[in-house]
């Protein structure tokens, strides 16, 4: 694989130097996004299956009751877990989450948490009891840019989520009292640098060829809540500002799809 990867990297790099991409997209163009909310709607409290080109990600939400953190006893809890299932890529292995899975989970987590999208204040049940929102993101098919696909799947699944009934110290499965209280739609958008060129929404081959990656999570037309640089390359000031611009622009479009 290694030699093939190196050759492929060269090929892609040269192509992009000429302003072209393998799939004929423009440099700042996203692949087609399809969002299917409620994909596993009969057991999970919320879910969304996202296709970003041929990348496929499934997010599911489980609502459980638990103990609040001591320093915020009146607030619900959210947690993000990513599963880089070996089904999704020949490069993923079974076992505990690696550093890529951890980083992705934490970036998605920060976008949702810092934007305050989940109204955790409304997830209080009684003294010592709050709702825990488990956001589990299952990678199904890695065609590149899992970061954005996972972030879009997570927020779409949250918007699909119903709040179960809670009675006599028990969650009544299958009965609901309303929607999960949400107040915003954070969307991560990723740009990568190949050679000196910035491009949006990298496919697998472009990820091989990239030097570095910048993900910016925007929640409104003028509010960003998370940012993460990855990869061993460097960015000029111009690269950074361009990536931020692109993320605001794409974020606005994708937010419409997510909220639909």
């Amino acid at each position: 694989m290694n030699i093939e990867a190196y050759l492929r990297k060269d090929y892609i790099t040269n192509l992009i130097k000429e302003g072209k991409r393998l799939d004929n997209r423009k440099l700042d163009e996203y692949r087609k996004i399809e969002i299917q909310k409620g994909y596993v709607g009969e057991k999970a409290s919320g879910s969304a299956f996202v296709k970003l080109g041929d990348t496929k990600v499934l997010a599911g939400i489980s609502m459980n009751v638990g103990t609040p953190y001591p320093d915020s006893p009146a607030s619900g809890i959210m947690t993000v877990n990513t599963e880089f299932r070996p089904m999704a890529s020949p490069h993923f292995e079974t076992g505990p989450p690696g550093e890529k899975a951890v980083e992705l989970a934490r970036v998605v987590d920060r976008g949702i948490r810092e934007s305050g999208s989940i109204d955790t204040g409304k997830l209080f049940i009684e003294d010592g009891k709050v709702w825990i929102v488990f956001i589990d993101i299952h990678m199904i098919d890695d065609g590149g840019n899992l970061m954005d696909a996972a972030g879009i799947a997570a927020i779409s699944a949250l918007l699909d989520t119903k709040l179960p009934k809670y009675e006599d110290n028990q969650v009544i499965r299958g009965e609901f009292v309303g929607k999960l209280p949400m107040t915003g739609t954070p969307v991560p958008c990723t740009s990568v640098k190949v050679g000196d060129t910035m491009l949006s929404d990298p496919a697998t081959d472009e990820e091989y060829a990239m030097d570095s990656r910048l993900t910016v999570t925007t929640t409104t037309a003028d509010m960003m809540n998370a940012m993460q640089k990855g990869g061993k390359g460097s960015f000029t000031d111009e690269n950074v500002m361009q990536a931020v611009d692109l993320s605001f622009k794409h974020g606005k479009e994708i937010r419409k799809l997510v909220e639909k």
Partner: protein
């Protein structure tokens, strides 16, 4: 709990009737072969990678490939979230699924290699090991890996005193017995067989036959899905 009324089951099925089964072939782009199966309210994906290099090296077999099937439930596949990672149940199911599939794949053709089969339970509603094995077998065929036969799988069980085919969740929870089974259809031999609950020897014989018959019905659905996928490809080309 009353699970059978007027000779019909909760969802209106007769005793020997399967739930609705829908199989899609070749649903993933990375895997060599793949399948998606909706079976009642179960939603399951299977993917095949390989034959490929076996790691770690000390597990290599110089006489044949090693087939490893990993069965995994997504945390959100059940109402009360399942903790991620393998538990004892999934370790057991992975083992017996690997053994069943190993019987039909021509492993001798790929010495020193690994053939990896991944089964992901995305939504679970009883019988997931049978659904997973059924999906895995189709995914192996989709991958073009030479097989002596398919593996077709279905459970039977005992519910309110009656032997019935293909338990759904309520029947599994409140029934008396579950008997998952898998056959290789050409020779009609079993490659997976488990039972837990309460059965007399006569009831076992009946339940066994019912499960075999059910598996043979599943086999027909597998074949149709594979034929359809081959035709589609031809038309598409």
């Amino acid at each position: 709990m009353e699970l059978i009324k007027d000779g019909k089951r909760l969802d209106g099925r007769g005793f020997n009737e399967l739930r609705d089964i829908k199989i899609e072939v070749g649903v993933l782009n990375r895997a060599i072969g793949s399948a998606y199966v909706e079976w009642g309210r179960n939603k399951v994906m299977a993917a095949v990678y390989g034959p490929r290099e076996m790691h770690p090296k000390f597990l290599r077999d110089p006489t044949k490939a090693v087939l490893r099937c990993i069965y995994n439930m997504a945390p959100f596949s059940v109402e009360d979230r399942k903790r991620p990672g393998p538990d004892r149940r999934s370790v057991e199911i992975s083992k017996i699924s690997s053994e069943a599939l190993s019987h039909v794949v021509m492993l001798e053709r790929y010495p020193n290699s690994a053939i990896d089969v991944y089964v992901e339970i995305l939504q679970a509603d009883a019988g997931t090991r049978c659904v997973g094995l059924t999906a895995a077998s189709v995914a192996l065929a989709d991958a073009g890996i030479p097989m002596k036969d398919m593996v077709a799988s279905c459970a039977s069980g005992k519910v309110n005193g009656e032997i019935v085919l293909d338990l759904m969740k309520e029947e599994d929870n409140y029934g008396d017995c579950d008997l998952p089974l898998a056959v290789i259809p050409r020779r009609k031999e079993v490659v997976l067989l488990q039972m837990d609950g309460k059965l007399t020897q006569d009831e076992f014989k009946k339940a066994y036959e019912v499960a075999i018959d059910g598996s043979m019905q599943v086999y027909e659905i597998q074949k149709n899905a594979l034929l359809k996928s081959v035709n589609e490809v031809k038309i598409g080309e």
